[in-house]
């Protein structure tokens, strides 16, 4: 590989700007049995929480035209188990290790951040699309001022580089991204899944026990692309583009819209090694168009 795809995100060098998105690839172990995940630029861990979570009951995945809805409910082994069992292995890989962290209260976030402070990792991606149990279940990532408060407190406590993963369900995603920047975030990633719904006609009930679930996949790509474009032009911190990327063309679109890196999530379900095809396709596109580094086309739209 040439250096055409080499990208610096918040001071961290990615050999290529493609990472696997949180929740679609575990901690990389199973995917690595399938292909050499060191071909990737980065990998976002399964979303962690302070304590282990068993996740949601009932159906957890449902297909839609060009997409899937999921309601896994942040099933994960907890931060300490992750530190003891997976973090070293992830750090030893030749890729950017992005640890994704969620929380259901400010205290939980802060305690988990403190545990992670004592261990090396490349980027901490903060999932703020979780319900705040102390605010009636309102998602932390919807109201700009609530998100601002979360980022402020975590920024103060966190020694790692901090990327805030934004919810497309935010009341004002541009304003919320600006608030993240003002509070000292090193970058933002967007978008998380779109709140959605499906109904089982035979049972005359919602498909999901939680009624609503998160929509992802190519169905959301044009909307995510628009949001990335708006945010990337409004902030000076780098943006990771996420949302239905399934081809190298999709990835290049996000880069042209202003994303520094991209994440591939749902599309890995088509083929676990799809991200490698995307990387190869991006490289070939740059070579064919005589572009010496991808930054030449970043944000040109």
């Amino acid at each position: 590989m040439s250096k055409r795809l080499e990208t610096v995100f918040a001071g961290v060098t990615f050999k290529n700007p493609v990472a696997l998105a949180s929740g679609t690839c575990g901690f990389g172990k199973e995917f690595n049995e399938y292909f050499d995940i060191q071909k990737l630029g980065g990998l976002c861990s399964k979303g962690l929480t302070l304590h282990a979570r068993g996740g949601n009951d009932g159906i957890r995945i449902w297909e839609t035209p060009s997409g899937v809805m999921n309601s896994v409910g942040l099933e994960n082994p907890g931060v300490e188990h992750f530190i003891n069992c997976d973090l070293d292995r992830m750090n030893q890989l030749d890729l950017v290790n992005i640890v994704n962290l969620g929380g259901h209260s400010m205290d939980d976030y802060l305690e988990a951040v403190k545990l992670l402070n004592d261990h090396p990792l490349d980027l901490l991606e903060l999932n703020i699309s979780c319900p705040n149990v102390k605010a009636g279940g309102m998602n932390f990532g919807v109201k700009t001022e609530m998100a601002r408060q979360v980022v402020r407190e975590i920024r103060e406590a966190c020694k790692h580089k901090l990327v805030i993963k934004l919810s497309p369900n935010a009341e004002d995603i541009v304003g919320l991204a600006k608030a993240c920047e003002e509070e000292g975030a090193d970058g933002v990633s967007l978008t998380n899944t779109f709140l959605a719904m499906a109904i089982d006609l035979n049972k005359k009930k919602p498909v999901f026990n939680n009624v609503y679930a998160g929509l992802s996949g190519p169905a959301i790509k044009p909307i995510a692309l628009r949001m990335v474009h708006q945010v990337a032009h409004a902030v000076n911190i780098p943006v990771m583009g996420i949302g239905g990327i399934a081809t190298w063309q999709d990835a290049i679109e996000f880069i042209m819209a202003g994303a520094t890196c991209v994440q591939v999530g749902t599309s890995s379900f088509m083929n676990p090694a799809l991200a490698v095809d995307i990387i190869d396709g991006m490289e070939a596109y740059l070579e064919k168009n005589n572009i010496s580094n991808i930054q030449e086309i970043r944000g040109i739209i």
């Binding site: 929740g23 679609t24 690839c25 575990g26 172990k29 199973e30 995917f31 049995e33 399938y34 399964k46 068993g54 996740g55 009951d57 159906i59 957890r60 995945i61 449902w62 297909e63 035209p65 060009s66 997409g67 899937v68 999921n70 896994v72 099933e75 996949g217 190519p218 399934a246 749902t266 599309s267 890995s268 379900f269 088509m270 676990p272």
Partner: protein, 237 residues
């Protein structure tokens, strides 16, 4: 990509597809099948009906968009089959009962065949439940010591679990649960192995959408299963 050798309708919405593929599939394992490029996004997990090392066969039911595409495949067409995945049924000896319901009868064919091949003295009795026309009964009879067919009723009524050393089942979750409760209520000593068919996405144990909450903790149907102990899956209920 693998080549489709046969793809025939058996009865109602059930089809049997034979694919050319070198394999070492074990009884109770499954493949992720895909006969399209990007859409539908998810590959379809289908259990192994039969395998001879050079070909693998799948007995499947048309239930949606994916299986509807499989139905249209003709000999010579290509299909991506990724696997085999999962743990499969354990080896067993003595008196063994295999209990299947609907398309859940599919993995029990190779299971009976392999159990008899490994342990010629084993006795394998099959109990097959169908809501519509029974299918492939002659083939099941050829690999088992006895086959009891139930049409339109409850196949779990037909079995006396106390007669067996081991029981293995695959079918609707409610059927497997009823069988588990029956085993407990009659005080059967036989362990019951259930094959779970939760909806899957990645198929390799990474995405956690097929999680079963068991008394032994969360288990991934695709990687830790699909075969689990009935007592672990239903024991808490």
């Amino acid at each position: 990509m693998a080549k489709v050798l046969e793809n025939q309708r058996i009865t109602d919405d059930f089809y049997l597809m034979k694919v050319e593929e070198e394999n070492n599939a074990e009884m109770g394992q499954f493949y992720m099948l895909r006969a399209w490029d990007k859409y539908p996004i998810l590959s379809r997990p289908i259990s192994v009906f039969d395998s001879d090392g050079k070909t693998v066969s799948f007995l499947y039911k048309i239930v949606g968009q994916g299986t509807e595409i499989f139905k249209g495949l003709e000999p010579g067409d290509e299909i991506k089959i990724d696997g085999p995945h999962g743990n499969g049924f354990p080896d067993a000896n003595g008196k063994i009962a295999l209990v299947g319901g609907g398309v859940g009868v599919a993995p029990l064919y190779l299971t009976a065949k392999r159990l008899k091949a490994a342990n010629p003295d084993a006795v394998v009795d099959m109990y097959l439940g169908f809501s519509g026309e029974p299918m492939l009964v002659d083939r099941y009879e050829a690999v088992a010591d006895s086959v009891t067919v139930n049409v339109g009723g409850f196949v779990t009524d037909d079995i006396d679990p106390t007669k067996y050393d081991v029981i293995m089942t695959c079918g609707p979750e409610i059927m497997m649960k009823v069988l588990y409760k029956k085993c407990v209520s009659v005080g059967a000593a036989a362990p019951l192995y259930v094959s779970m068919e939760n909806r899957m996405a990645c198929g390799i144990g990474a995405c956690l959408v097929c999680t079963c909450k068991t008394s032994g903790g969360n288990k991934r149907a695709c990687k830790d299963g699909p075969v689990m102990l009935g007592s672990e899956v239903f024991g808490n209920e």
